[in-house]
Amino acid sequence: MEAMELIGVWIGIALTLGLYSFLYKDNPVFKFCEHVFVGVGTGYMLIYLAIEVVWPKLLLPLLHLFQWDVVPWLGGLFGKTWKVPSTPLEDLETWWLLVPTFFSLFMLVRFIPKVVWLSRWSFAFIVGYTAGNSIYASAQGQLFPQAQATLEPLWPPDAAWGASLNAVIVLAGVLSVLIYFFFSIEHKGGSPGLARSRYILLGVGGLAALAAIWVSMSHPEPEWDRARGAMIIVSLLSILIGFVVCREKHGGIYAISRLGIFFLMIAFGAAFGYTVMARESLLIGRVMELERCAHKPAGFATLILLPLIVGLIAFLETRQPKTPPTQA
């Protein structure tokens, strides 16, 4: 192994063992390694974003646009070539880059207390785009395909009755958990008129949702997309407005909510089982690395550094001031 490679391996193993010292307790060696990690991670991310995203996508095209001749030398050093506009349209697109430029500058003035309010424009820009774009996308990509997938297997013509039983269990699980989420909390206030209009809205929303699902199943052609989209919007708005308040807890709903809790506990148990596998996999990954570096090519790094780190922690422990016993 080359010298720099060997030094790198030793640094990696030392940091690994230093971080594992947390198993003993929080100690200066762990804190040191933790701060090294954060410092290096922050620096890495900042440099990468500056060089690979901000410079080629924003600054370089703008500098070219303003024809600053000093930049070809800099551009060559940074390894990024000019994007030479070949048509007037491309030039227009580059001028449009002034929009994110200004929003980026407004973001950066967050450090200046007098004009910190300018950063609100940048956040409004990002959040408006994200919020607007995600409404229809999440309804189309998550809500309706999942509702369709819950109902569709209930009446397949050729499946065994075991499959139908599983589909009924899934439907019961989905409904009971949703009832637990939305209807198991006691509601204070409201009026009979409000309750009536809530049921009407939920009914309208449900019918529109079923209509959208029927259109998806019977008319999947793209020509029906807009009609399906309109039904999705109507059902969404009705269900959302109808779900503003929750019903009172009573016998029937409570029993169904309990069933919902049982399904949730099974899901959380499954999640725990998988989480165990995830965490142990990461541990085994590090064990494999430590074992690999315990051999001669790595200079027996693990075998030498392990007692050194343990000794260092023991030494620092003896240097800690002992807390006096508390008086009764």
Binding site: L23, Y24, K25, D26, N27, G41, Y44, M45, Y48, L49, E52, V53, P56, G79, K80, T81, K83, Y129, T130, N133, S134, A137, S138, Q140, G141, Q142, P145, Q146, Q148, A149, A267, A270, A271, Y274, T275, V276, M277, A278, E280, S281, L282, L283, I284, G285, R286, V287, M288, E291, Q320, T323
Partner: protein, 273 residues
């Protein structure tokens, strides 16, 4: 540090048992039986069914904190894609920390297939783009607006590996190797809008969340965690890191089940007293 922040003795015993369960089976090198998983087999069969030259997009969306789980499946998928002479386009939308991991996997596997795959013709690494929602939306309209060049700064348009690709619709399969919430963005802003086939490789922590998408056929298959990665390696037929790790993982799982049972026995015995 005061005395009370030190760990109690019982916890030390558990830590030691876990450490031994991780180390000893790894050193013993015994064989394990098969571990079938239909969701994993489904993804493997989907890739196998792709004709030669089909463009496949692989999104490397994991950092070193998930490398142990996702690196083995990434290597197995890439080996299968290179064996089948598929065109592989690699990118990352998660965070910059994923890029060197992506480059490392591609460098190692392309070396194994040296002479059989060529950068620019059979595979390309296009780099990183932030803001996953915006990037996926942008790629859905025009791929080159988000990634005009590859990581060697060569223009992507006109490269043989990118032939016939202008938007996400043009990919035969998109595989997301993810440690965060990226699959949700791919599904919502990518798959549901542009109707491409999508597979998922993810950490075990996330795996249970994506079964609804498997049943609704929005995902064609899923490799969830190291045990699934082990299955995929077996299907591809080339041993990898997951095979070595499964020995320790199996013993640790049994240890934790034993700890749960023992803990409950102790609890009920104490309650009876």
């Amino acid at each position: 540090m005061s005395q009370e922040t030190k760990r109690p003795i019982a916890r030390w015993v558990i830590f030691l048992l876990v450490a031994l369960a991780a180390v000893i089976p790894y050193l013993m090198k015994f064989e394990l039986p098969e571990l079938p998983a239909e969701v994993v087999d489904a993804l493997y069969k989907e890739v196998e069914a792709l004709p030669e030259g089909t463009p496949v997009l692989i999104s490397f969306d994991f950092d070193p904190g998930a490398e142990a789980e996702l690196d083995p499946m990434a290597r197995a998928i890439l080996r299968q894609c290179f064996r089948k002479k598929l065109r592989v386009i690699n990118l990352s939308l998660y965070m910059p920390q994923a890029v060197p991991l992506m480059q490392g996997v591609i460098r190692d596997i392309s070396k194994e297939y040296e002479g059989r795959v060529t950068k620019g013709t059979d595979y390309v690494v296009v780099g990183f783009s932030p803001a996953a929602q915006a990037s996926i939306n942008g790629m859905g309209e025009d791929f080159y607006s988000v990634f005009p060049r590859d990581m060697d700064d060569r223009p992507l348009k006109g490269m043989p590996v990118m032939k016939g690709i202008s938007t996400l619709k043009d990919f035969g399969l998109v595989i997301d190797l993810a440690a965060g919430s990226l699959p949700d963005y791919w599904l919502v802003f990518g798959q549901s809008k542009h109707h491409f086939k999508m597979g998922l490789g993810c950490t075990a922590v996330m795996a249970t969340d994506y079964y609804p998408y498997l049943q609704s056929k929005q995902l064609v298959g899923m490799i969830g965690g190291m045990s699934a990665g082990y299955r995929y390696e077996k299907l591809v037929g080339i041993p990898g890191p997951a095979g070595s790790a499964m020995r320790s993982l199996s013993v640790i799982h049994l240890l934790i089940v034993a700890l749960v049972i023992v803990g409950n026995i102790v609890y009920f015995a104490q309650r009876r007293r």
